[in-house]
């Protein structure tokens, strides 16, 4: 087993060594991760690509403290979330991680602004103040006019942007996104990635985006390729498109 080096350079925010994850046991045991080693730098947009079923979602679930690895070493901003108690891990997620889910998972009874405000509410920010901040983020994502709409009144792309506003609203150090642009048209998708990248470039931030969308790969600062539970390619993209877009 490879140990995490004691003195990691300050720019490395996330480090995995020999991380494995299997589901089930016995005959039905599935190895989703078979020994993942990786290092993710601060201040960039990392994209995670690979064929369906290769373990991308499993990996980001582990990095974001939703799942615990079966074995291996893990450090996210100096913390191994899998070593925290359930309560501590929940608290850690609330303060450290922003999520964009494949299914937007918006609360159907809440308006766009209220939905986007949820992470702030979880952290105890008063309702009005939280919704106000959320409105700002929605406006940034081009949804300023739809703050009072319910999710069912929004298109899929608009719902996804609400979900992204929700992921950014509490300014988390780690943002994990599973297919954030798949439901968006090209122009909207680029705009969304632009926002994600702006967030990523702030110092100390890490944004990991799982995607199949070839069109947005050029925005990646780093690209991780996965296959069959392993990282098979790790490339820093020095020629990433500028944050403002082209």
């Amino acid at each position: 087993m490879t140990a995490v080096p004691a003195a990691s350079p300050p720019t490395v925010a996330i480090r995995c060594a020999a991380v494995t994850k299997h589901y089930g046991s016995g005959e039905t045991r599935i190895a989703a991760l078979r020994g993942v080693d990786l290092a993710v730098q601060e201040g960039g947009l990392t994209m995670l690509v690979g064929p369906s079923g290769c373990g991308k979602t499993t990996l980001i679930s582990i990095l974001s403290g939703i799942l615990s690895p079966s074995s291996g070493e893990l450090s996210v901003f100096g913390t191994d979330p899998s070593r925290l108690s359930d309560g501590e891990r929940a608290e850690w997620r609330a303060s450290t991680v922003g999520f964009v889910f494949q299914q937007f998972n918006l609360l159907p009874a809440l308006t766009a602004a209220e939905n986007a405000a949820v992470p702030l509410l979880i952290r105890g920010v008063p309702w009005k103040q939280a919704v106000e901040v959320a409105r700002g983020h929605l406006a940034e994502l081009g949804l300023g006019e739809r703050c009072a709409s319910l999710p069912r009144e929004l298109s899929g792309g608009q719902q996804q942007r609400v979900a992204i506003a929700r992921a950014l609203v509490h300014d988390p150090r780690l943002l994990v996104c599973d297919e954030p642009t798949s439901a968006l048209d090209h122009e909207t998708g680029e705009r969304v990635i632009d926002v994600l990248r702006t967030a990523a470039l702030r110092s100390g931030r890490v944004v990991i985006v799982v995607t199949h969308d070839q069109r947005i790969l050029r925005y990646a600062d780093a690209l991780l390729r996965m296959d069959d539970g392993c990282i098979v390619g790790d490339r820093s993209n020095t020629s990433a498109a500028p944050a403002e877009g082209t």
Binding site: D86, W92, V118
Partner: protein, 387 residues
């Protein structure tokens, strides 16, 4: 309100249809529970009406085996003098009470409760009789009848088929003895339905079939300053009779009636059924509400809401619908009560009913909510990444 509690509230009221059916289920349950419990209280109160309506004394002395006001086990006439001799007794008078047959002026035969009160003092007479009315008992053959029953159970059918209320001056024969309606009294509506007729003790004895034992109760007034419990104990020791205060006698009667009749069980069943139906509706709605929000709740968990906070959110939701539903339901019950009351049905809302009802409704909603919460707690936050 804490931000997440506010969130819980918004989630709740955001789904109008669910919210309304939740509240409606609870309104229904609360209405039934409070209404039936209040009718029950009303009826159980009424078992003591005659006892409370009897005026002037402190203790009821009776055979120790008497189980309620309608159960006469008369004492020997010597009981009176034995009680009179006990220390602390200011005065004691006999009272006769028995079920007899009475024939109304139109020939109709009914069962009546004849109460004979002390000839000299008229103690034990109905609270609701005016002084003049009570005094008419000193006239020959006089009886007093319940004013409210003149036009109902005591109404007289005329030869032409019409009916008229029984009136002062009408003759009634009681157990083949002539009596004349001399006056009326007001009475608290009574659980027992046979009309009460008041007359004097000695006249009651002439009406009654000859018996060796003819003193149903000895009514006792304590000397001022004498402690009733002590006096009752002395009477019990000296004579072997039971001596009960009005409250105690009413309670004994109530307990007996509730235990011996199906009333308690009947109302109990209605209350429990209404309760169960309402709670099932509420529980089912609450549960499906939680199921429908499952993904979103799992997302909340992924975003760092602990199980305990999720549970708290459900408690907030339960509390809002519970209090609202109960408030409306209990309000409607009170409203229906004033209507029932005006048509003469027994109905009394007590604070005990109200608080126990609220407690029961909230507890069962909480249980229903916690069933749903258990599901949410077992939700895998990782499921949020699934399609």
């Amino acid at each position: 309100m804490r931000p997440l509690d506010h969130l819980a509230y918004r989630m709740l009221i955001g789904d109008r249809l669910k919210y309304l059916s939740l509240v409606a289920g609870l309104v229904f349950a609360s209405l039934l529970v409070v209404q039936q419990a209040s009718i029950f209280t009303g009826y159980s109160d009424r078992t003591g009406s005659w006892i409370y309506d009897s005026d002037g004394h402190d203790l009821w002395v009776m055979d120790e085996q008497v189980e309620m006001s309608e159960d006469s086990k008369p004492l020997l006439q010597t009981a009176l003098s034995r009680v009179r001799g006990i220390d602390g007794v200011a005065w004691a008078v006999p009272l006769y009470k028995n079920y007899l047959k009475a024939r109304l002026p139109d020939g109709k035969l009914i069962t009546v409760r004849v109460v004979g009160i002390d000839d000299a003092s008229l103690a034990g007479g109905p609270l609701g009789a005016s002084r003049e009315s009570l005094a008419t008992l000193r006239r020959d053959q006089a009886i007093l009848v319940n004013e409210a029953q003149l036009a109902t159970i005591l109404a007289v059918r005329e030869a032409d088929g019409s009916t008229r209320p029984l009136a002062v001056g009408d003759a009634i024969s009681i157990n083949e003895h002539q009596a004349t309606v001399a006056g009326t009294f007001k009475a608290t509506p009574d659980f027992f339905w046979d009309p009460v007729l008041y007359t004097t003790y000695s006249r009651a004895l002439t009406m009654a079939p000859p018996e060796r034992r003819s003193t149903t109760y000895v009514l006792v007034k304590a000397k001022s300053g004498v402690e009733l419990a002590g006096l009752a104990a002395r009477i019990r020791e000296t004579t072997g009779f039971a001596a009960l205060t009005t409250e105690e006698f009413a309670a004994r009667t109530r307990t007996y009636v509730l235990a011996q009749t199906g009333i308690l069980i009947n109302f109990g069943i209605t209350i429990v059924l209404g309760f169960i139906i309402g709670i099932l509706v509420a529980a089912q709605t609450l549960y499906s509400f939680i199921l429908e929000n499952q993904r979103a709740l799992a997302a909340l968990k992924a975003m760092g809401v602990r199980n305990a906070r999720i549970a708290r959110m459900v408690v907030v939701q339960v509390f809002v619908v519970g209090v609202l539903g109960y408030g409306i339901g209990a309000g409607l019950a009170a409203l229906s009560g004033s209507i029932l009351d005006s048509v003469g049905l027994a109905f009394r809302v007590t604070w005990t009913t109200l608080s126990l009802g609220l407690l029961a409704i909230l507890t069962s909603c909480l249980l229903a909510g916690l069933l749903g919460v258990r599901r949410v707690m077992r939700l895998d936050p990782a499921s949020v990444f699934k399609t």
